[in-house]
Symmetry: C2
Subunit: 237 residues, 2 copies
């Protein structure tokens, strides 16, 4: 790594910057209670996430046509509600549930860390989430992005090459001038393949109390940190 070359940081968002699981559960538990739904919401959101991930992979392999993540999550939600035998929710309720992805809350260090990093670098999302999701979430959570980049812009999902290469191109930079920041080793692995620098941020509670993957860096990433504040420190920001 040549830190002097570094101009921009691109961030994975779900899990890396915001606590998707905790945020969804915190919204759905009281909602379930109010609506008389006896649902294990921890399991529900885990299955929602993994089912949506399967849909992403179906788009990547061409089994499904392009659809943005709001649409994929919406279809997955319909299926899940059916599987859980949850009836009686109207379109407004379902829309509110799906839009919970636009209201995810940041980890405690995210806003302060990003604020520091933004002073020295261009900070951009590089998420599989939709542009609208990134924009609404940023407004809701106070995330100070310079630029919102998303799989939706490229009509390709991570870890497809088009996402990383496309981001570098839109930022008007060379790959080594950009650092991918993620809590997921697969994302950094792909980014490195395309010449980006890499920073692992450990989020050991992202997937719940029994998380077994992504507990630590699996390659010699350029930086490994346990928060965005620590990343800022490591990058002199």
């Amino acid at each position: 790594m040549s830190p002097d070359d570094l101009k921009a940081l691109t961030f994975d968002v779900f899990g890396t910057v915001v606590d998707w699981r905790g945020s969804l559960i915190a919204e759905f538990r009281p909602f379930g209670k109010d609506n008389g739904l006896a649902v294990d919401w921890d399991r529900f959101v885990d299955e929602w996430r993994s089912g949506s991930r399967n849909r992403i992979d179906a788009v990547r392999t061409g089994t499904l046509p392009w659809a943005n993540l709001d649409e994929l999550c919406g279809t997955q939600l319909d299926e899940l509600l059916k599987a859980y035998g949850i009836r009686g929710l109207d379109e407004g309720d379902k829309n509110w549930m799906n839009r919970a992805w636009h209201r995810l809350k940041p980890w405690q260090d995210s806003v302060s860390g990003l604020t520091r990093l933004k002073k020295k670098f261009v900070t951009a999302t590089l998420s599989n989430g939709s542009v609208a999701c990134m924009v609404n979430m940023a407004k809701h959570a106070g995330l100070p992005w310079d630029c919102v980049l998303s799989a939706e812009i490229f009509h390709h999902y991570k870890p497809d090459a088009q996402v990383y290469r496309g981001a570098v191109e839109l930022l008007g930079l060379q790959p080594h001038q950009v650092m991918m920041v993620a809590a997921h080793n697969y994302d950094l692995h792909a980014a490195r393949t395309h010449g980006l620098q890499t920073a692992f941020v450990a989020r050991p509670a992202e997937k719940g109390p029994r998380q077994t993957s992504d507990l630590k860096p699996e390659e010699d990433w350029d930086v490994a940190a346990s928060s965005l504040e620590e990343l800022a420190l490591a990058l002199g920001a």
Copy 2:
């Protein structure tokens, strides 16, 4: 117009938010002096702008292949330097000149007006400028965008339909929930064609002291204002 429907504002940038002409001249005059160049910089930047606009139209009609505005302006600059008989500038100088578009300065009311508007609405660029240009300019000038949208994302230049429709889609909204803000009637005309709301912001000095076009609204745009502060006032922001 139903003001209650309005969720997002998309902004033309060159001329509407930043003073491209004044900013370029202010950089090039001292540069010319330092380099012993006897050039009428007012005319030079006007010709640069109009030549680049011609290149945009050549891309729109398919005469030129897609290239972002940094590339189009760079080619136009090379041609112009030749036409003016300016020799002896190295690649660094030329790059610095072309990158002046990334360093344009906002009109006096732009940052304060956008800051107000951002509290109530999603604020996004919708410029023919490149994504990198918008990002670098925002950092340089302190423009607080929620989202950077650009012709480059759609590989179509304004006033092509794809730009307006694409922006509405990426923002996850309906056309009537989005307002195009521009100092140029042609831009608003196209936006209205695709169902967006429209706001004209008069910038009577944008094209210099002898500006003859876009001095006033040519249709009954939803809002007409003389500054972004006045637009904020009109929209209750």
